[in-house]
Subunit: 569 residues, 2 copies
């Protein structure tokens, strides 16, 4: 008697779904593998869509093609992978008792039932559309699937769009703003929270990135501002965004306030939903029904540093989970351990990223946090293409354990984020960063990697070799009319375009300071400042060595000063 | 009674020396710190010199300047750092009993003695000049210090140089060859060993890099060939390089056969020299005399994966050691744990790197080694600027422990080397690579990082999900006239410019294979091949699932085929 083939049914045809199907096919040559998706577009590169808007991705079809040029359509999955792919097919209900899914063919309206031995939910997430007046005007878009991307692109090409508003300064909002600014559109980003990238960066780093994006790309940011309604013209086209603090003309509005996991199907089937509102899965990516797996943007996962459940809808997690699901479908016990909070993005000419905990998260978890912020070049300054990065390291003061790293800049930020993620993966210390044998050659790095430089700076603080003050703390001291000396130790030419204009500032270059140390008042607090915080540290040590009791160095120097004109890195 | 100031004397003014001096100054404000160097050039960016040759570094002075534009000369060290810097001052003898160094001023010839409380040797390394006839002809250069770089550059500018020979295919040789080829010079590299980069890459990876450098930049490589003599013309200028296998015209010859630590001063002072021939130091970077430290290119260090002593003259190690020496000078017990064998370089449009053990090293140490070689794009294929990388992972079969990673390609190799170095730092497993939460966005990565892809491929091999064959093994089978089917599953258009021309090859695209599986002979061994090894793996699984018993997939596909025309990535 021949065994009936194992029937695997996958609901959801983007990212995680195709990944599960492909590996399951390789592991289970005899299984019947079916993927259904209600959309027209399957297995698309969702993360590439912002780059299609500003023509970095030249053709729409590239978002759907393999590296060797074939379209990743149903036919491709059938012929190359032996996977039965049904598009425009909506799952209506999961009948767990009978192990069947009720589906509807969206072309014909016909309903049918698909049986399964194992079911996999990769039903993704959807854009949140805020309940405000006017979102139905023409020219108002969400940005979730390739249909959205194409519609936005066509709208931009057909209409004479000059002013654009992006509502939401999360990942998609910021990437889109970069793309729209690249198209020379007047771009305004409105964010309800007090900072851009509120889920990713600490406020200090977010402000520095905001300052640079504004200066380099002319993007206007309105944080802490709530959109109340959209207004349209007589043709029914959007023309204005009204907020609680003003109004902005716009011929195009993109709503990018966030995504929400699709859980309706799972909830109606009685599957457990987690505390984050996404589908609950165990370490094998199994739902509360052992014959139903789930992965991708519809599930919640575990933050490996906190043990807490988090919702982390990232393509990288979806792909790793997909592999785990396929392994388990094939009887190979494989586990997915969760995320470290790694997230990276590019907007305009700037890169940004984070791994681990933010300072805020770490404080909320009760850590006594110590941080360092260090601007550095990503490679030797004499090598063409070198660019600045600003890195922030967050560590636990008591143990010296690394908790998180953030980075922004036109330079190579993401390499440092990945290295930090590796250190976090092993629960490493700040000292591990310092001791690691990273690669150095002038096109790639400084002899001491910026990440190691930042780690050294943090250890110097911990060891009491330097006392620092942040840009914000300095601002507060200035605003409070405190009596101190702001000792700028840069070269005169460096101060011409960018300095803190205040009578308390005096300029004595580091090279002159030894000779002129008697000119520095001994009865006042001295705050040293330079360009990136290296010479001000040197000056700090010099003054302390010369007997000055109350000295502080401005961490990160003028490059981390978010007030006034931005350093163009 | 006032204590006499601590006197720190540093012999050697490049890389490690200035680093020690700078941090010692910050930690010890009252110390007398003196650096002496016999050369004219101090604190220069030696690693940047190849990039000065092809004008990537625009000005000679940039190799000596700070990021903010000041020259790093003796005056800079005096005024900014409070360090007494004496150039053109040679150390002749270390009198350990009296704690004095006999020095000679090379300008005046005058000798004097400098006392020290602690002495630091950062006396570096020198180029090995092979003892062959003709190295004294004009146009024959070594490439060790900025004087060499400037002389080479001037010679190129003044003479009508067309043909250049670089002797030695180590780091400097390969970087220089890339620079010379960038200048459109006919460049030949002659290497005594059977491969380029013999200390860095395994032969398989070295050959792939060699093939690309030859194809993309027209560099001619002669490996396994020994230079016997140089010949000159009537003006005393070099005109020909004669080897044991032929001769090469050349108007410029650069000898880059390696470096040798400077240990004379240490040996004459009775300090212990290690088994590698470099100065022996302990984990505090202390020599056999507790008042004498040493670091940089003159010392040997420990390979952290093997515990063995190695000679690793890299700027990154020198800088890390310099910090450790300064800490110890200041009474802060700080240790340097050694290297992981990390080394990266850029030549022409190609990057290359290694961390950990090579396959050869691992075998010699007794590991039962398993490897994977995977070509992948460094970011999503649809993103502009994506480039290929070929990664090789070396692991221990028994434990699954990661032992080493190598990478080459025009794409972002070095990020992956650094991440792998972090994993090696923690003694991580191949599975750690797979589970790490690395950053993904289209400008930076694939959803599954190439390193993770390579780790997956290795685990698939370990798990028996695929059996692979290397390019070399395939070549041997072809040459031995074995009877098998070479099943090329690429698209027809992919095979047009690059295929293995052999009657045993048949072309059935992966998309057709399911339908045409009956055409594949069941009585023969089937070797599947594609472009990068992904579709051939898919075909392997398909055939195995269809009952074929003897199937193998060519690891890395045509991209790792070093015979015949190179894939231009």
């Amino acid at each position: 008697m021949q065994m009936a083939a194992q029937r695997i049914l996958i609901i959801g045809g983007v990212a995680a779904g195709p990944k599960v199907a492909a590996r399951a096919r390789r592991l289970l040559p005899d299984a019947e593998i079916t993927v259904i998706d209600k959309g027209r577009y399957i297995s698309y590169a969702g993360c590439g869509m912002p780059f299609y808007i500003d023509d970095q991705v030249g053709h729409f079809r590239e978002l759907f093609s393999t590296g060797y040029g074939l379209p990743r359509d149903a036919e491709y999955f059938r012929s190359e992978r032996g996977i039965n792919f049904r598009t425009r097919t909506e799952a209506l209900f999961i009948d767990r008792a009978r192990k069947e899914v009720l589906v509807r063919d969206l072309e014909t309206g016909r309903q049918s039932r698909l049986g399964y031995d194992q079911l996999v939910l990769t039903i993704g997430a959807e854009s949140v559309m805020p309940r405000i007046e006017g979102t139905d005007f023409a020219g108002v878009f969400k940005f979730r699937d390739p249909g959205d991307a194409q519609t936005v692109k066509e709208y931009l090409e057909k209409r004479d769009v000059q002013e654009v508003v992006v509502v939401g300064a999360g990942f998609i909002g910021i990437e889109l703003a970069g793309a729209l600014a690249n198209l020379k559109l007047l771009t305004t980003v409105i964010e309800f929270q007090e900072q851009i990238l509120p889920l990713t960066l600490d406020p200090d780093m977010a402000r520095l990135l905001e300052q640079r994006l504004a200066a380099a790309h002319g993007i206007e940011f309105r944080t802490g501002e709530r959109v109340i309604r959209l207004e349209g013209d007589e043709q029914g086209r959007v023309c204005r965004v009204v907020t609680d603090r003003g109004g902005y003309d716009a011929e195009l509005v993109i709503m990018a306030v966030g995504v929400r996991p699709n859980v309706g199907l799972a909830r109606e089937a009685g599957l457990a939903i987690g505390e984050t509102g996404a589908i609950l899965i165990d370490e094998y990516c199994r739902t509360s029904d052992p014959d139903i797996y789930a992965c991708g943007d519809c599930v919640e996962t575990t933050h490996r540093l906190t043990g807490q459940k988090v919702y982390a809808p990232f393509a990288s997690a979806a792909n790793r989970q997909g592999r785990v699901v396929a392994d388990n479908l094939a009887g190979r016990r494989s586990v997915y351990r969760g995320v470290l909070g790694t997230a990276v993005l590019q907007a305009g000419s700037f890169n940004a990223g984070r791994t681990g905990l933010t300072e805020e998260q770490a404080r909320r978890l009760g850590y006594e946090v110590v941080t360092s912020i260090v601007p550095q070049r990503d490679r030797t300054h004499y090598h063409p293409g070198s660019g600045m990065v600003i890195l922030k390291i967050i560590a636990d003061r008591a143990s010296g354990r690394l908790l998180g790293v953030q980075g922004i800049g036109p330079g190579e930020v993401v390499k440092r984020i990945d290295v930090a993620a590796a250190v976090l993966h092993f629960g490493g210390m700040v000292n591990d960063l310092i001791e690691m044998d990273l690669g150095y050659a002038p096109p790639f790095n400084m002899p001491i990697d910026p990440l190691q430089h930042a780690a050294n700076a943090l250890v110097n603080k911990l060891d009491g070799i330097v006392e620092t003050i942040s840009a914000d703390e300095l601002k507060a001291k200035l605003d409070a009319d405190e009596d101190f000396v702001l000792l700028d130790v840069r070269l005169e030419k460096e101060t011409r375009h960018r300095k803190i204009d205040d009578p308390r500032r005096i300029l004595v270059t580091l090279g002159e300071l030894r000779r002129r140390v008697h000119e520095i008042p001994r009865d006042k607090e001295i705050i040293t400042i330079c360009d990136i915080g290296v010479r001000s540290y040197e000056a700090y040590r010099l003054l302390r060595g010369a007997g000055f009791a109350k000295v502080k160095s401005v961490e990160g120097g003028m490059r981390t000063w978010p007030y006034g004109p931005a350093s163009m890195f």
